[in-house]
Symmetry: C2
Subunit: 189 residues, 2 copies
């Protein structure tokens, strides 16, 4: 592939991440992605196929990037949650893509399934080693740790309005709250 095509693909992916994270799959407009990438619409179909295929690619790339950046430490799940929290603060589009995909695209991604299998296996090992409670299945604990990490992102804007009323948005406190919450969640009974 000529270098300019590679460069166009890169610009299209960057624009697609922004568009899908902001508007989701249904709300995204392919012509806006093309315009923001200084490319034409046809180049999207040529490189990535349909809008749905481009969305899947963007979601898969983002989840893969997150998994590369933050590895599970099943013996220290509060630390893992803190590291995930930090990463998602840096890359907030990943949380939004994750939530859109859950609502709009109800299908697994092979590489992500493999990643989750590794993580769940690691949590099971930590359960066997007595480091994590055993009365909740590892697959549920995985879902719950993630849910706590993104709990403020999924909170209602009506609840957020209560805190906005206090005049500050204490991110450092929130990180401490997330790690403390995960510690309480996973602690062996």
């Amino acid at each position: 592939m000529p270098p300019d095509a590679t460069e166009t693909k890169r610009r299209l992916l960057t624009a697609a991440v922004e568009e899908f994270a902001t508007h989701g799959l249904a709300g995204a407009r392919v012509d806006r992605i093309a315009e923001n990438a200084s490319a034409n619409k046809r180049s999207i179909y040529m490189h990535f196929g349909t809008k749905e295929e481009l969305f899947d690619r963007v979601v898969a790339d983002s989840m893969s990037e997150l998994a590369q950046a933050v590895s599970i430490d099943a013996g220290h799940l509060p630390d893992y949650a803190g590291a995930l929290f930090d990463r998602l603060r840096q890359r907030p589009h990943i949380t939004r893509l994750y939530l859109w995909a859950g609502l709009e695209r109800q299908q697994p991604i092979d590489a992500e399934v493999r990643e989750y299998r590794r993580n769940v296996t690691a949590i099971e090992a930590a359960q066997d080693a007595g480091r994590v409670r055993t009365d909740i299945p590892a697959v549920e604990l995985m879902a719950m740790v993630i849910a706590l990490v993104i709990s403020w992102d999924t909170a209602s804007w009506s609840l957020k309005a209560l805190q906005a009323g206090t005049g500050h948005d204490p991110v450092d406190d929130r990180r401490a709250a997330v790690t403390a919450a995960v510690a309480g969640l996973v602690h062996p009974r």
Copy 2:
């Protein structure tokens, strides 16, 4: 208002709940709502205004219905979580509307703010009474309890695929997992 107008409004709201829960705000089609309500598009604008206003009405009604059905019991947050879990099993569209609203409509709803304020005040009282941990602010605990209740709804389809592989979807076990998780989360340190 003539009785037939009231009846049309009711049918439109029912159709709108279904349409918005399935497709979200951007993905919803007003003509599909009208068609499913055996009404015409003009009647939507007449009764409810814009698509956004209809969405806000549907979300506000659903959240109000949920708050009426399940009252907080801040001294027994695991039981509250179990009751919320049960209600949302019966009314799964509420969870989806909640998530869509968080992504697509970043604004508080007055009645919902008042409801959250009552709940957060109740959690603060339970903290003062030594029934709930005090190292995480009540407003964050509120967000975290909800996050745990809907943790399987927000889980990635790639994680769900792991459990689908086991051949069953144990809802009763999940309810027990949610109440146990909330107990671990809120337990005073």
